[in-house]
Amino acid sequence: MRKGIIYIALFSFFALVSFTSTEPLFHVPSGWPKPSYDFSKNTLSQDKINIGRALFYSPILSKDNTISCASCHLSFTGFAHTDHDLSHGIDGKIGKRNAPALMNLAWGKTFMWDGRINHLDMQALAPISDSNEMNENIAHVVEKLNQSNLFKNLFYSAYRDSLITGERTLKCITQFMLTLVSANSKYDQVMRHEDTFSSQEKNGYLLFQKNCASCHTEPLFTNNQFANNGLQQDTVLLDNGRYAITHIASDSLTFKVPTLRNIEFTYPYMHDGRFKKLSQVLNHYTSIPQHASTLDSQLQKPIQLSANDKVDVISFLLTLTDKEFLYHPKFQYPKKLFSQSPNGL
């Protein structure tokens, strides 16, 4: 019943999107802004999404065929890397940052904590080439794919020729990532008048709107901007955030505002995974040292939250959990596809 209502409420974004089943491949949830991704340059098809999913889960993208995107981005935890403060890649090498959750990427404008990737299509090149992550190069990946019967067949059915190129490989990975839409949490149901907040959640929501929503803006829970939220710089990592990309002084120590959807499962938190619990995050926001020169103006005046308020904000944050998204089989390891050739190798 509830599902029925959702689908009726869906936006008429269908025109952009092709169908192979009755369910649309992508839709804009009602009341959401227009996606930033230009679908006209990469028209979705179920075949291409399937290829993207296979690529996402196949270690063929890494030099020694051991690491896949899913090694660091796990579906059950909103595609974040739970329990790892800094990501782990090839040969157990440790990266510089925490693997962020992946969802609602069609609305993203820039990617990575410092925004150094300007388009979702180009995102996969970074982990594929990073010597700490997959340590491969895209030309060799394409060569390997062209030798794989599984991928040759998949590309043939999607493109009617089995020529695998860098462009097609990247666009298929993008197609899978575009389908990762999380829009059915309790919060969403409340907004659609299908459910109601408890009084605690409601109070938390009001406090959230007052103190947090200017950066973690609804309905995406990010404004896609960069900000310094007052974290002290880690003295070992010495991460300057966006400054390393723009070399503009005011960008020093600013990071991309992350979404808070499914935040219950995407711990540890922040670009370096320094907090394990939401209570630590809230304690941070109420005790920000005022010395940081690029501290965001909205945080210059300390946030005041009582212990009870903090509990309420957290209970609101937990309403952002979307079980349908976290456990949807279409986002998980493609068992059937890989049954003949394990892991797509």
């Binding site: 150094r116 990737i117 388009h119 090149l125 970074a126 895209i138 030309a139 190129t165 860098g166």
Partner: protein
């Protein structure tokens, strides 16, 4: 009668749309001698010898002009030239027949819009080694080699010039007077690019920024139609 006239006039554009390819060839030289990869050449008679191991770059947005007005603009104009593959250094321009021109304009590098348009194919395919991976953006121009003064491992130098965000947008526009012929030969004199480079201090540029901007300004001097 009037009908026939209209018909004839209507046909004229059709005639001039007939295609007539012009062939452009880029020749790479040092002091008017053909550049050979992995062999020694001298930038100046007094200087040490230099070895070029890689030269790859993009030519884009090609236009032909007649008396200052554009008469032809190539569509999807992106060409990757790699001197290791001599075929890539000659390509046709599909121009209309009987076109008159006396000047050619093109850019060295990739424009900012293509830089933010996601995955592209053909000569812009990211497998071709001309796309940065740790940060988005095309490498416009890649020159690598060995110079005895380079204080680096094996005396290697690497110049990867690119970037698409102001103020560090090193796309360079080149204008050349050219003869109205079917074969257009363009010469790159690489000693002009490398003259006054202090290999002792400058051995590598790998990111967009001021250094890449300054380096790209040298491009304007190295192209000519004189052999």
């Amino acid at each position: 009668m009037r009908f026939i006239l209209c018909f004839l006039i209507g046909c004229m554009p059709l005639c001039s749309v007939a295609q007539n390819d012009i062939s452009i060839s880029f020749h790479h030289q040092i002091h008017h001698q053909k550049l050979i990869l992995n062999e020694r050449s001298r930038i100046s008679p007094q200087s040490d010898s230099v070895i070029i191991t890689t030269l790859k770059y993009y030519i884009s947005s090609i236009q032909l002009l007649w008396q200052g007005k554009t008469v032809f603009r190539e569509s999807n104009s992106h060409h990757l030239l790699n001197i290791e593959e001599s075929k890539s250094c000659t390509f046709p321009l599909h121009t209309p027949k009987n076109i008159h021109f006396d000047q050619m304009e093109f850019c060295v590098g990739i424009d900012s819009i293509s830089n933010v348009s996601g995955a592209l194919g053909g000569d812009l395919d990211p497998t071709l080694g001309m796309y940065w991976t740790w940060q988005s953006g095309y490498i416009n121009f890649k020159l690598e080699g060995i110079h005895p003064k380079c204080p680096s491992r094996k005396n290697e130098f690497q110049f990867h010039i690119g970037g698409y965000q102001m103020p560090y947008y090193p796309l360079q526009e080149i204008k050349l007077s050219i003869p109205n012929k079917k074969q257009i030969d363009i010469y790159l004199q690489l000693e002009k690019l490398m003259a006054n480079l202090d290999f002792k201090t400058q051995k590598s540029i790998m990111i967009p920024g001021k250094e890449a901007m300054d380096f790209s300004k040298r491009f304007t001097q190295m192209f000519s139609t004189a052999q």
